[in-house]
Amino acid sequence: MTDPVLATKGLTKSFGAVRACHDVSLDLRPGEIHAVIGPNGAGKSTLIAQICGGLKPDAGRVSFAGRDVTHLPTRARARLGLARTFQISALAMEDTVLQNATLGALGAKGARAGLPGLLGDALAPGDLRDTAMAALERVGLAEHAATVTSALSHGQRRQLEVAVALTLRPRAFIMDEPMAGMGTEGSQRMTAFLDGLRDEAPILLVEHDMDAVFALADRLSVLVYGRIIATGSVDEIRANADVRKAYLGEDA
């Protein structure tokens, strides 16, 4: 079996009395979509923040691309090829869609250059613009390139989050509810898109949309009260009694 691209070992994080993440170990293998599901407040976003560097775990380790990255800051993990999309859009809202995508392209390039150039035009025709436009085209936002980001719908902001991640040409995608607020049609299009994306880089996918999850996931982990109660294939998870009781049962 090939080595996982990303792995966590015993991640634990508390906020006061709330144990948001408890001894979480999971991995992400090349070519797969590994979905993490769980009820609201289960600790999914907290887990992602620890993987990407926004939150420091109380205990446990994160390894990525063959390195222990537990103590690396967010930007260093990004430079190693970790691309994240946020549940609550973290975009430059006053800037245009193209400017946001260009920022991603700049970051990908900055891995070598250090500081972005002080002179020159960020949006002039060239590498940066090509990378940014290509990513926008892929998610279907190209015609909105000149729109100010705050004018986008919630679904479109999700698409832009994904486009920025694409500009990084990462080794792994970490996506926090990329389909929230998209509507059925948008969800289906995003599902089809992510389906193809797994060949470029594996995806750790947090998602509430069960149709999408069951259609996409190679493996599923179920998080409840900060703990992983089961990991397995879609069929295994569907058949799992604990999961039915703790989570899926709510819907059934």
Binding site: C52, G53, G54, P73, T74, R75, A76, A78, R79, A83, R84, F86, A90, L91, A92, M93, E94, D95, T96, L98, Q99, N100, T102, L103, G104, L106, G107, A108, G110, A111, G114, L115, P116, G117, L118, L119, G120, D121, A122, L123, L128, A146, V148, V164, T167, L168
Partner: protein, 327 residues
């Protein structure tokens, strides 16, 4: 041409037209007022890079303004008294040449911004405001207690410094020099906003998490912006001292920092010509209202309140509407 560009062009025409008209009608005092506007606007352009583009609320920019002022004062005072700054390990003499003084002012204030930025940019919010304020006050008290360069009384320079090919004693020629410096700074600022660096810095102000997530360091971006900002305000300080032929600890005072911030807020935070509009209005009010009542600052305060409450984009925002992202 969009509306903001038209407003900008109008401001520039006004700033150039008023002193030219005053020159034609032989009103040197008005030329001097316009020169003040140009210099203070330059100081504001410096602050606006940190504040408007970087979101760094520095209440200590008087530090750079004062350092620029003292760079001029110290170099010129040694030149006028024919005493070198130091003789060993090598001879260093004063100078009356503006370009040399500017270079020293730029470097010295950039160096100060390097130190102040490295320490203060580790904090944010109200702590950042307080630390920058504290650095300004440190320099203020240092300048008061340093007898070598006039202490509390400051330093007087008998003759304005020279610029090759120009007669700087002629008010309109000195105005032209200051105006050219302002125009250069505005040009640089406009390029900076469009540059990859400007894009990243601007995004770091709106969503630092986003910038880190694409692999760029927000600290480094802000640090570079702060140094550039300090250097430009330092250059303004050198010109201001030359205008008055005088430097004193007042240039370091927190009121000075406040005034520079007022120019930016009045004119429009983050708007390229905001500091020009703000400084012009400030000086006009000071001149008109100051002649009527010694309490004109009360009216200024009232105006500032109105801007903060109802016109966040300042004068430029009021005239030109919302900021348009460049495409």
């Amino acid at each position: 041409m969009n509306r903001e560009r038209m407003v900008n062009a109008a401001l520039l025409t006004l700033l150039l037209g008023v002193p030219l008209w005053a020159w034609a009608t032989d009103e040197p005092f008005t030329i001097t007022l316009a020169t003040r506007v140009a210099i203070l606007a330059l100081a504001g352009v410096g602050l606006n890079i940190a504040l408007g583009l970087g979101g760094l609320v520095s209440l200590g920019h008087a530090a750079f303004f004062g350092i620029g002022g003292y760079a001029m004062g110290i170099l010129a005072s040694h030149a006028q008294s024919y005493t070198p700054l130091m003789e060993s390990p090598f001879l260093l003499e004063g100078t009356k040449s503006m370009p040399v003084i500017w270079l020293v002012a730029l470097l010295a204030s950039a160096l100060a911004a390097l130190v102040i930025g490295a320490l203060s940019l580790r904090t944010s919010g109200v702590y950042f405001i307080m630390i920058t304020l504290a650095f300004g006050q440190m320099l203020y008290f240092f300048s008061i207690s340093w007898p070598a360069y006039g202490g509390e009384d400051g330093l007087s320079i008998y003759m304005r410094n020279g610029f090759p090919g120009l007669n700087t004693l002629d008010p309109i020629q000195f105005f032209a020099i200051c105006f050219a410096c302002l125009a250069a700074a505005l040009w640089f600022n406009a390029r900076l906003v469009r540059s990859p660096f400007g894009l990243a810095l601007n995004a770091a102000r709106q969503s630092p998490e986003r910038v880190e997530t694409v692999g760029l360091g927000t600290f480094r971006l802000r640090f570079v912006a702060f140094v550039i900002s300090g250097a430009i305000t330092g250059l303004a300080g050198a010109l201001f001292a030359d205008l008055n032929r005088f430097v004193s600890p007042n240039m370091f005072s927190w009121q000075m920092s406040g005034e520079i911030m007022v120019f930016v807020i009045l004119g429009g935070v983050g708007r390229l010509y905001g500091p020009v509009a703000g400084a012009a209005l400030f000086i006009t009010l000071e001149h008109v209202l100051g002649g009527i009542s010694p309490f004109w600052h009360v009216w200024l305060g009232f105006l500032l309140l109105l801007v903060v409450l109802f016109a966040r984009g300042g004068i430029v925002g009021l005239l030109a509407g919302r900021r348009v992202a460049h495409d």
